[in-house]
């Protein structure tokens, strides 16, 4: 009879566990809900909690990216029609949430393209005489003899676009870019434009410029 008692005890234990699991899982989602909604303000937040960044890095939304680019380049109150239409074209590829996990290739391409138009506007402004970034550069000359002026320009852009000084590796990277560009042989005034446009675009479309 001992084996019978043992089996009965095991069966009772199994039934108890089965009942407990049924009560707390399949048939009683309300118990889960009660736990889930223990904090009333947590309700909206709960499902997004694992998706939202718990870090100081926040992506800018599409409009923020565009206005930020205009703001740091000193064009906030005078966006051109070309810049606006470029934004309209690219807005749907830019972020609409603050989650950096949403960064993808189309977003990076859209950001780069928009930055290019904003930098073109900056270049036009500087060439018209309002110098803020390319202070010592001579737009009538090629870039080859203007390395020091170029480096001063990228430092100014870094401080404006990123709100900080360039670190050593960033400065080396951009200087290497200057060397690569000029080693290709182009040294006309148009090449100066291209060099500045590319440098401005790469800095304005970088991670630090579209997060805050």
């Amino acid at each position: 009879m001992g084996w019978l008692r043992r089996w009965r005890n095991v069966a009772l234990l199994m039934m108890g566990l089965g009942g407990l699991s049924t009560l707390s899982f399949n048939c009683s989602p309300s118990l889960f809900l009660a736990a889930k909604y223990a904090s009333s303000f947590g309700i909206m937040a709960w499902e997004d909690r694992f998706n939202d960044p718990v870090s100081p890095v926040v992506m800018m939304t599409s409009k923020q990216v565009f206005h930020s680019m205009l703001n740091v380049t000193g064009q906030y109150n005078r966006a051109t029609a070309t810049q606006k239409s470029e934004f309209d074209l690219r807005a749907s590829s830019l972020a609409d949430t603050s989650n950096p996990a949403g960064i993808n290739a189309p977003m990076q391409m859209a950001t780069t393209s928009l930055a290019g138009e904003v930098c073109r506007g900056l270049l036009d402004t500087e060439k018209s005489g309002q110098r803020r970034f390319f202070v010592d550069l001579d737009f009538t000359l090629g870039p080859l003899t203007q390395r020091a002026s170029y480096q001063a320009s990228i430092r100014r852009m870094g401080q404006a676009f990123w709100g900080r000084f360039l670190n050593r590796s960033e400065e080396i990277y951009l200087s290497t870019f200057f060397d690569d560009f000029t080693s290709e042989g182009g040294d006309s005034s148009a090449d100066t434009d291209k060099l500045l446009l590319a440098s401005c675009t790469v800095m304005l479309a970088s991670f630090d410029a579209v997060t805050y």
């Binding site: 809900l33 909604y37 223990a38 904090s39 009333s40 303000f41 947590g42 309700i43 909206m44 937040a45 709960w46 997004d48 909690r49 939202d52 960044p53 718990v54 870090s55 100081p56 926040v58 800018m60 939304t61 599409s62 409009k63 923020q64 206005h67 930020s68 703001n71 740091v72 000193g74 906030y76 109150n77 966006a79 606006k84 807005a91 749907s92 609409d96 603050s98 401080q159 404006a160 676009f161 990123w162 709100g163 900080r164 410029a209 805050y212």
Partner: protein, 442 residues
């Protein structure tokens, strides 16, 4: 630029504001605060940034936040994006500027009681002053016809304002008396009992009164202004007297399903639904319809109003031949006026929402006569939860992260109380949140 800021720039040029470690730390905090309150990055050399840093270094964080909230980007980007998320079902920041967002910007700019967003009889638009910059045009609303064309039957007016990249807070004017198009060229005043700030705005109606049974208007009011999704306030033990005829009491032949599931949401939602009984939205001509607009034919006639033209037919769904198939339970509630009952006032719901009568004076809620959307908005706006929810919205916009459960309750209750003490000033709420010690993650 303020005189204070000019004086500060003088100090910088004289070198009296040094680059000590303390000042660099203040500069770092100012950079963060300025970006979060305006929604954009600022050049490291900008005077606003250094002016804020000076204030922070001197222990005046509120003063620093006030510098940021005085800038045009605070209104055109930060406030606009927060409101855009709340204005439609998509809850997306991509939503263009509209009458809903404009009201938020205006209320923040005027620093008036934000509860008015839910019960005020006004709207914000560009009324022609100040003059627009050269080369900028905004489709006007000077005549009844243009008001209809560009504001009441479309979003043209606001689209133009936004496309022009104007400093929105400088061009929006508060205009008393909401309007309702009744033909292509004429409009009438929205009845005072149904004028309810953004709850009777074109954007809100287009999003939530289109089709359906006007329950979504209640659901989204709770969702956006009380930060409470439908499952959060369901109460199966409340009275289901007000639950409509279109709700099946035996879904799938099982009365228990209704009693334990369906009823929970409908007790509260259908209880309040009467407040919106006169509203509809016609997507064919983008017109907000009101059952008392007096139109008896054509595109502006409230086609879906009940036979007695007091409430919209969609409130009852029992008038042949339109929708007899919607009648699931003949014993359900028939809506005949705009009265409503608050079925979210029991147990946990009472503590959660903290109902305190109608704003602004705490008048008692009565259901003995027709009440309308205005009273509903006043009830919601005066609840403790509204203040706490606005604090949460601002937190999400500025701090950009979710607080752990439990902590959120404490923080938002505290910020909500502060918001109330400050007279529900939205701009000051942003400043309070920005200087909150837990807002900035490091």
């Amino acid at each position: 630029m303020t005189a204070q800021m000019i004086a500060f720039l003088g100090a910088v040029s004289l070198g009296t504001w040094s680059s000590s470690a303390q000042n660099l730390s203040a500069l770092d905090e100012a950079k963060w605060m300025l970006a979060r309150l305006t929604g954009v990055q600022w050049p490291g050399q900008s005077p606003e940034l250094h002016f804020m840093a000076q204030k922070i270094a001197a222990g005046d964080k509120f003063g620093a936040a006030k510098v940021a909230t005085s800038l045009p980007q605070f209104y055109s980007i930060t406030i606009k994006e927060m409101a855009a998320r709340m204005s439609t079902r998509a809850e997306s920041v991509r939503e263009p500027l509209n009458d809903f967002s404009a009201a938020f910007i205006g209320i923040a700019r005027d620093n008036t009681d934000a509860r008015e967003l839910l019960y005020g009889n006004f709207y914000y638009a560009y009324s022609g002053s100040p003059a627009l910059p050269s080369g900028v045009s905004v489709r006007s609303m000077n005549t009844a016809q243009t008001l209809n064309e560009n504001l009441l039957l479309s979003n043209n007016h606001f689209t133009d304002l936004e496309k022009a990249n104007l400093h929105l807070h400088e061009y929006l004017t508060r205009i008393e008396g909401q309007r309702l198009a009744v033909s292509a060229t004429t409009n009438i005043a929205v009845p005072a009992s149904d004028a309810a700030g953004v709850l009777s705005s074109r954007t809100w109606m287009a999003a939530h009164a289109i089709g359906g049974t006007n329950r979504r208007l209640v659901e989204y009011t709770f969702r956006e202004f009380l930060c409470m999704p439908i499952e959060g306030w369901a109460d199966t033990s409340a009275s289901d007297t007000r639950v409509g005829k279109d709700i099946d009491r035996r879904p799938g032949g099982d009365p228990q399903k209704y009693l334990t599931s369906c009823k929970g949401c409908h007790t509260v939602m259908d209880g309040f639904r009467g407040a919106f009984a006169r509203w509809d939205f016609n997507s064919a001509n983008n017109a907000v319809l009101h059952s008392l607009n007096g139109v008896t034919s054509g595109a502006f006639m409230p086609m879906n109003s009940d036979v007695n033209r007091v409430v919209m037919r969609k409130m009852n769904r029992d008038t042949p031949p339109a929708s007899t198939m919607f009648v699931a339970y003949q014993g359900g509630w028939s809506t005949t006026d705009t009265s409503f009952v608050n079925n979210a006032s029991r147990g946990v719901n009472e503590a959660t929402f903290g109902w305190r009568g109608l704003a602004p004076d705490g008048a008692a809620l009565t259901t003995v006569s027709a009440i309308g959307t205005n009273a509903f908005g006043r009830l919601v706006a005066n609840s403790r939860r509204f203040a706490q929810c606005m604090a949460q919205r601002v937190w999400d916009q500025v701090c950009q992260y979710k607080l752990p459960m439990g902590d959120g309750d404490l923080v938002f209750v505290g910020l909500g109380l502060k918001f109330e003490q400050q007279g529900y000033r939205l701009r000051e709420l942003f400043e309070t949140v920005a200087v909150h010690p837990r807002c900035r993650l490091r």
